[in-house]
């Protein structure tokens, strides 16, 4: 990452992927693998060994809701757009390195995937500022981005 660049989590409704409705300034990606004991079942097998039988992940993000007049990439954003999140719609998420004015220019993609909203918290705390927190449960595979330097 170059000087001045940030990483952001971008989320859009999958049905309208070109419109980004949230850009989290803080995010965490929690992944976990479900395992099954495959240890040697005799007196020599004291160290547990595992076999992965499934994987899952979720993403939590938080940030400020952008104003309806803000255009991040190609779409208008605002509180109303969360209505589509709540409607059990599939969401696209992207983790991107960004730069430029207000960090609106994507430089490269770290990873992307899809998920369903499982928790949304909207706090109207200050004049003009609204904070949101959400959790997206992963749906399908995580796809690493392509490194242009490879």
């Amino acid at each position: 990452m170059q000087k001045g660049q940030y990483i952001r989590l971008l989320v859009a409704v999958a049905a309208n992927p070109s419109t980004v409705v949230a850009a989290a300034k803080q995010m965490a990606l929690h992944g976990s693998a479900q395992t099954e004991d495959s240890s040697t079942k005799d007196t020599t097998g004291t160290d547990l060994e595992y076999e992965v039988v499934g994987q899952s992940y979720d993403i939590t993000g938080s940030g400020l809701v952008l104003t309806p007049n803000d255009t991040l990439l190609t779409g208008a954003v605002g509180l109303n757009d969360f209505e589509n999140w709540i409607k059990d719609q599939l969401l696209n998420w992207r983790i991107c390195v960004m730069e430029g004015t207000n960090n609106r220019t994507i430089v490269e993609e770290i990873a992307h995937g899809q998920g369903k909203l499982t928790n949304l918290q909207i706090q109207a705390q200050n004049k003009q500022n609204t904070t949101y927190n959400y959790t997206i449960n992963g749906y399908g595979a995580i796809v690493p981005g392509t490194d242009d330097n490879d």
Partner: protein
Amino acid sequence: MFTEETITSTQWSAQVDTYQSDTTALRSIISTFIAAQAVPVGWDQTAGAQNRVKQNANFKRNGNALLNDFTMSFNDRETVAVSLQFQGTGGLS
């Protein structure tokens, strides 16, 4: 009276917290998680330039472990706080 027990199995895990600014390394972490296969994990004393040279200390250990959970916090400019949790599989040598 104290209970005395016989150990029938052992397990181990390891956690690493670090900062990262190399996006290729971040992609590698994600790919390691997706692969769902145990990778070599070990610890040792290090020295030299940027502490990259292993010292073969008495307490060094090597094993294989699954990257089972990771957290990336992207709140910092130019750097990412990364926490990796490994679940050991098999013994430590």
